[in-house]
Symmetry: C2
Subunit: 579 residues, 2 copies
């Protein structure tokens, strides 16, 4: 378990501060993460990696000459925000464009994707390679759904070595994708890790058992079995990985591969070496030439008890890049001439507090939207216990409290933004970040996504029309469905959001003004939220009690319908009263 | 807990094999441990480190250019044998003498010391620096009694950098001792580690508590307290270490120091960084300039939950050597030109099976001694249950079984040696190693020490006389008291060994033949063993039930007296019957 912390709320910030103090010669801190302390060749691609914290050496320990140019550091096991990604990219940019790489998780895909859009809008070329090495997380036919685990390292290393060698962004993308498609990992777990301040681990595996394919955040695995001998584990992992030889590898016999045997936290070095002994025998017997393997802790999950094996199938170009020297806090290879340090005072670090200039109509719209957020906060305040009660039937009962925390934070952030003449887009972005940050949990992330979608649609220049709002709601619906992977009928907020969005778009297209259209649409949402009582929830590992909720409306759909109804009063208010 | 292993008996051998396979470019295996795969400058000092296994990166992970030339790898948490140390030194020797460095534990001191004597006898200059950084393990007045923990790294690094810079052995010793005296560590523990195959941890700390100063093998600490915050832990460790500024450091303000914050296995990186944040603040506030700190896992104890802080107070010379580049499997720093590989086929690797030539009288004596070992095995076989019963009153009841395992192994090794015409010294050395290896535990180590002392006294050339045997027994007594730290009256084997040794020496000096002298002396031993029933054992943390044993003779003293009496029959046998 995790034992050493102060206030758990500050754990990641304090760990980051300590990390930067210990490695001041190699990295420097910027808002959202860290970047290299050493200078890169102007015009070269910057490789920016990242994800949730708690996986050291991933991600900050992999920043340095020959490896990543920057790492974005989210909260524990939580995706960093789009703003964090943007900040680190701006500071790491060398003028050759940015490659973003991270494990393929919904939150990361969303936030890195949002940051990419913003960078491109600002004229900075940016591409994404999401790592998909975990063979247990989806079938070979659905490669794009696979998660990223220890294979992160091979993709990051290849991308960075290519950038260092002067490859163009297009070429860095090409070779990083090739590395991604030639990297396969499989993991096992024996016990979960404990977040700072928690009484118990995130999950447990039954004593004496091993979960095959369990993810590094406890995502469901593919089977459970008695803990095997070290040799039998090696045989299991190698045989699974050899079943899936990537396209482009003509024959296993004679192939070259690097091998990573990764410990997740409390499976220790001597154990890993005992397993590696057999891995090495098996791969050599299969005729594979092993190139510069790594045995140790590369991507951890705090003190989780688990391990994974990665095969990285090389060709000449990949082998050359894999062997290239690197000097990061937690990964060093070969010998390289230290580059001169950067002048940290001249970094392009976005001012997190900066409010971009906005048009007058957008500033006026921001004032209206602030009123909508106040109404949102008020209706949640009034219904916090009822929402908690609904959630307690099938869940952990924190929906009311979580919504309250998020709505309060968003209202405060919006008030501050409005007082500084923010446009609608900026105000909504700040409110989205505040909501997601403070609420936590799934509902916090989803409300962050919805407000962000509105923010991107409205921007700071346009005069928002009814059509703009309808488009923003449509984008919010689409992003939520991409992020949350929920479909209509799954008994989630989506069941109210889809009819609302559809009705709003239809009414606006038919010529209704915003007030009329909103009224029709929110009535649809309310009816749909009530109708969720009849639905059977889609059962997931995380919601074993959810079937108890048949007969009760979904709390997320209910709170959405309440908020949409409450906002009607703001829309109907004369604009004069709003300011 | 340790989960991945095959037969626990083979754990260390298999881990070593896997380690060497993973790092084949840096190290190669020799009997007893590993040496660098890269060539060193002829005539330079070889730095050989080592100790028990289970502490990776210590010790094998610290072998490589700029760091150690070789590492001797004992069993889990058990000192390597003198033969292992000797083998690694012979293979690592570059013609400039050998510096041996290791944590200051009795078994290591003994076995590295025995190997040193042998190397010197063979004309290879050899010196020892035993690391004594753990401030909790003895007072400042008894520095030489302190244990070595994570501060191992600073002494090893300085010794190796000095050797690499061409220092003579005398100069390497000087600067390594200086580093040793300027290194101070303090550790805390939250829970013990589990040996492969064991059902439970080596020790536990009560839940929610922290043991201050507990050793890396569970040696008693100085206090127990509630687990503090990360900041409070930093404050505790820093304040203790600043109380003990080494001689030669004029003032804390303005001093330079390196800092190691070491995790023992399952206290993870992010936690260490949170603690380091405050350590860094406190040391900077005290006016200390921090030079190239390390935060991570440097000296572990399998998956033990614990951490330690080390301050290494630098001067100009130490700072230069600390900053020198190094490239070992688990410790890399700076940039260095890779040295060419050695030709592993030309290593001076002692043949473990070789039986050195011996004189005829020594070969004849070996045959007599083999009969003595047979008689030993037989008397233990006959009394194994009785010895177990005596031990079960205060201990874990395994004294009989342990003695049996050791005596059987020693008899077999002696038989093999005699069949190959070994002299008395070689035969006893092989029997000593077999006994210590197979018996395990304290009694195994002690019987190994006694037989080794006899081996060194008799050698392979001399015609053993009664005086030789008396001298050998005296050395055995002295070595056991040094190794086991037991005094007369502590209710141990020493209570029978002292009167036996004294009586034997006295009778032989007075002109008695061996049979008469042995008879008098073994009668003294038997009486003394029986008298231990009246003694109160010295209570140690490991023996909470020992006071129950008042009224029962000590099992170790009893088995010794039985064996001495049984040997009398061999001495009285005509020599003709012996061969």
């Amino acid at each position: 378990m995790t034992r050493l912390f102060n206030d758990p709320v500050n754990f990641v910030d304090e760990a980051t501060e300590g990390f930067v103090a210990a490695h001041a010669q190699r990295v420097c801190q910027v808002p959202g993460g860290v970047i290299r302390r050493t200078r890169s060749e102007p015009g070269t691609v910057a490789v920016v990696i990242g994800g949730g914290s708690g996986h050291y050496p991933a991600f900050a320990g992999l920043v340095g000459q020959g490896l990543a140019h920057g790492a974005v550091m989210g909260n524990l096991f939580a995706s960093p925000s789009a703003q964090q990604v943007y900040n680190v990219c701006k500071a790491a940019n060398n003028g050759g464009g940015v490659l973003l790489s991270f494990g393929n998780y919904a939150g990361d895909v969303l936030h890195f994707g949002q940051a990419r859009e913003r960078l491109i809008r600002e004229g900075i070329p940016c591409e994404i390679v999401a790592v998909i090495d975990d063979v247990s997380s989806a079938s070979q036919e659905e490669l794009h759904k696979r998660r990223g685990i220890a294979g992160d390292l091979t993709v990051f290393k290849i991308a960075a070595a290519a950038a260092e060698a002067g490859y163009s962004l297009e070429e860095v993308v090409r070779i990083s994708r090739a590395a991604n498609l030639r990297t396969r990992s499989m993991g096992v777990a024996f016990d979960g890790c404990t977040l700072p301040g928690s009484k118990d681990a995130l999950f447990h595996v039954p004593a004496g058992k091993m979960a095959v394919g369990l993810g590094i955040h406890g995502e469901p695995g593919i089977s459970e079995q008695a803990i095997p001998t070290a040799d039998a584990l090696a045989e299991l992992l190698v045989s699974h990985l050899l079943e899936e030889v990537p396209d482009g590898v003509k024959s296993v016999k004679g192939a070259r591969a690097s091998v990573l045997l990764n410990g997740l936290g409390s499976i220790k070095y001597e154990e890993l070496f005992v397993v590696y002994r057999r891995v090495n025998q098996l791969l050599e017997a299969a005729g594979i030439e092993i190139i510069e393997p790594e045995v140790g802790e590369l991507v951890t999950s705090l003190d989780m008890a688990g391990a994974s094996l990665t095969l990285f199938w090389l060709d000449d170009e990949l082998e050359r890049l894999w062997k290239a020297p690197a000097d990061a806090p937690a990964y060093r290879k070969g010998s390289l001439e230290p580059a001169p340090p950067i002048d940290a005072s001249k970094l392009d670090i976005p001012d997190a507090d900066e409010i971009p200039a906005a048009s007058e109509p957008s500033i006026a719209a921001a004032r209206c939207l602030y009123r909508a957020l106040s109404a949102t906060r008020k209706v949640i305040d009034d219904n916090v216990e009822e929402l908690g009660r609904l959630d307690a039937i099938a869940g952990d009962g924190d929906h009311g409290i979580g919504m309250q925390r998020g709505a309060v934070a968003a209202e405060l952030a919006a008030e501050e933004a409005v007082s500084r003449s923010a446009g609608a887009g900026t105000m909504l972005r700040l409110a989205a970040e505040a909501w997601a940050d403070r609420a936590g949990g799934t509902s916090g992330a989803i409300w962050g996504v919805m407000l962000n979608a509105l923010s991107l649609t409205l921007g700071d220049d346009e005069t928002p029309s009814a059509a703009h709002y309808a488009d923003g709601v449509t984008k919010a619906k689409e992003d939520v469905m991409t992020f949350g992977k929920a479909k209509a009928g799954d008994k989630t907020l989506v069941d109210a959001l889809i009819p609302f969005s559809d009705a709003l778009s239809q009414a606006v297209a038919a010529g209704d003004d915003l007030s009329t259209a909103w009224q029709k649409a929110s009535a649809e949402a309310t009816a749909a939220a009530e109708a969720t009582a009849q639905l059977s929830p889609k059962l997931g590992r995380a919601r074993p009690l959810a079937k108890k909720s048949v007969g009760t409306p979904d709390p997320g759909a209910t709170s959405l319908a309440m908020i949409l109804t409450a906002i009607q009063t703001v829309i109907d208010q004369p604009v004069a009263e709003v300011s």
